[in-house]
Amino acid sequence: MILDIIIDGLIKGSVYALLAIGFSLVLGVARIINIAHTALYMTAAYLIYVGTKMMGLPAPVAMVASIVLTVILGLLIYNFFIRPIQEHEAAVLIATIAVAMMIQEVFLMIFGGHYLGVNPLIDGYATILGVKVTYQHLLALGLALVVLLATRLFLQKTRLGLAIRSTAQDREVANLMGMNVTRVAMGTMAVSVGMAAVTGAIVVPLVTVEPTMWMHPLIMMLAIVVLGGLGSIEGSFVGAFILGFAESMVVFLVPMGSFLKDSVALSIMILVLLIRPEGLFGVSFEEER
């Protein structure tokens, strides 16, 4: 059973980490609480469905096209709905909720409420230490780790990465040092939406594509970000795996209460916040003020 929990938790955690890190990045750098983040993840999933099932494109082509188109959409959203009100965090929060709802309604209008599916890139499953895992899940885990590593390298080794990190640390000082913080925010937004799109592309064969598929990951993602510390990339990474393992443990240890897995994960978040209000890797509120 322990092996089951470890393997299942790792897979869940890696998918959550991808979503949460993208969200955390743009929150930390530009102070944008982009609630539409998971709606963009859904957009990528729908575009892959359109590409593979309706247009008959090969899956890798559809995946790349969907990531590019989703990033373009994300930048358009940033330019028209977020940038004009970027200084007002509450307004951004509400605007992005509205954008997410708009995206949901658009997909509902086009595809109806039908549950759609995309075929896995690799069919079949492997048995690891007696635990059956589909190749697609393993692929998702592998790709998630590669993307997370690539993001880390990008942030540590590139000039834009340096700009993003410095802007995340102190926006005003970065501005005074001559950085174009608006451009950095836009770049960060592109990376963040790109991560949401990549997650959508990786996960789409594992989930049901439908117009409300963005809501559950949104709740989990917000919980992870708060648990890890608002805007902390390391915190989001660790938080994602904590909640992934927590979900798996609930299913294996309390099968009758497997519907409670989300609630238990959220309760862990509340518990951590009671002990450490700034989250696991967050800056304390006192210090921030």
Binding site: M1, Y125, V207
Partner: protein
């Protein structure tokens, strides 16, 4: 002034001529409100079934009411009940007060239908339900007949009978597994979405399976109705050594569960209720991984009555999908037509006694309403079906000579090859 006077005279004359040209007493259509979540498969079923029947009836001249042939006019009422019950309430209010419908058909979610039912009863409109299964909807008729007498349920059979069919399907699958694989005691994993309607099935399963059916319950799993991942549940089920997974799903989790169960080739037969697997899109949505999933159903391409196969084929031809139980609106319109013609009126109180006396050979069986205005279940009436996905086709596998009931076109229940291999090698 003189010019204006002339214009006025001409206009008056024209108006008189126009008025004389209009037919005296133009035929007023019978308005039927079709209620359903129209962006979803269930609502599409409501609308498709109703439009098919309305087109047929209108094509044949309409409904004869007191010697006058009146056409049917359908009013599409999008209840959006999956996402918002208040939307459903507003939609029905609008159908009754603004569009002034004569009758109502459809509805899906019990919680929403209860509210719709109250609005329809207040307006004294006959409402034939084609979607919600909860017994309470009909219990209300027996408890307060004067208020709820205008309500009837046509599809599906109520959840009490669904439960009966559910256990019959389980018993049948268990017997086949015992015979084919030589298993002495069948182990069952009970998996039901966490919803109020599924609770009685879970409770009864835990008592009935060991005590009356000689099976062992290896565990009960209750995923969320909208769970997006069931791999953990499936791993635990396989560890528990289950031969059968007894499913109770009406929401999207049914799709996720069936897809992942097929992907992982879990060596257990999925039997029970899985509403998602009643839909044509199930095969594509699971990428074929939902093969061998069995569920209770209302329609399949078998000769339940002489009307079933022609209805099924025409429905597939028109809408490119198989009918689900919400397409019972097709029969509902014919029941209303018959009652209205007998009553010679569209007034609810005049039509009501004739709907109560319905004995109609419909597309899903012989329809007779009981005292609670619920569709009668059993041999000779509506039985419901057990259907299984077999290599891309929905096949009827039950009733298979049950209580002398066998519908032409029914095929035997099949076990997935990996289940047979696994348990044969295990011996």
């Amino acid at each position: 002034m003189q010019f204006l006077g002339r214009v006025g005279t001409v206009l008056l004359g024209l108006s008189l001529v126009l008025a004389m040209c209009l037919p005296v007493g133009a035929v007023e259509p019978i308005k039927i409100g079709v209620l359903g979540p129209m962006s979803f498969t269930q609502g599409e079923g409501h609308w498709n079934g109703a439009t098919m029947a309305a087109d047929e009836i209108n094509g044949a001249g309409g409904v004869k009411v007191a010697g006058v042939m009146r056409p049917i006019k359908l009013i599409k009422v999008d209840t959006n009940e999956f996402l918002s019950i208040p939307d459903a309430t507003n939609a029905v209010e609008m159908a009754v007060s603004r569009y002034k419908v004569d009758f109502l058909v459809g509805g899906f979610r019990t919680e929403a239908v209860q509210v719709m039912q109250d609005i329809a009863m207040d307006a004294k409109k006959i409402f034939i339900g084609c979607g919600a299964a909860h017994p309470e909807l009909c219990t209300r008729v027996t408890k307060d007949y004067d208020r709820y007498k205008y309500w009837f349920r046509l599809t599906p059979i109520n959840s009490k009978y669904l439960g009966k069919v559910d256990f019959i399907l389980l018993g049948t699958a268990a017997a086949i597994m015992k015979k084919t694989l030589g298993i002495k005691k069948i182990k069952v994993a009970v998996v039901a979405e966490k919803a109020a309607w599924a609770d009685p099935i879970v409770n009864i399963s835990q008592k009935l399976l060991p005590a009356k059916m000689g099976m062992e319950v290896v565990g009960v799993w209750r995923p969320s109705p909208v769970a997006k991942d069931c791999t953990a549940e499936l791993a635990a089920i396989q560890r528990a050594g289950a031969h059968i997974v007894f499913t109770t799903f009406s929401s999207s989790v049914g799709l996720t569960f069936a897809k992942q169960m097929g992907e992982l080739k879990v060596p257990a037969a999925a039997v029970g209720i899985n509403v998602e697997s009643q839909k044509s899109g199930f095969w594509e949505a699971t990428g074929g991984k939902g093969n061998y999933t069995e569920t209770i159903n209302t329609y399949a391409r078998v000769a339940i009555t002489p009307k079933t196969i022609p209805f099924y084929d025409k429905y597939v031809k028109l809408f490119n999908q198989a009918p689900n139980y919400t397409a019972g609106t097709y029969d509902a319109l014919y029941i209303l037509k018959e009652a209205v013609e007998k009553a010679g009126s569209v007034e609810s109180d005049k039509v009501l006694p004739f709907v109560e006396k319905t004995d109609n050979v419909g597309t899903a069986g012989r329809v007779v309403f009981d005292k609670s205005h619920d569709v009668t279940w059993g041999p000779g009436y509506v039985t419901a079906l057990g259907t299984q996905w077999q290599d891309g086709k929905i096949q009827c596998v039950w009733p298979y000579h049950w209580e002398k009931v066998f519908y032409e076109g029914t095929v035997p229940f099949k076990l997935a090859p990996w289940i047979v291999d696994y348990w044969k090698n295990k011996k």
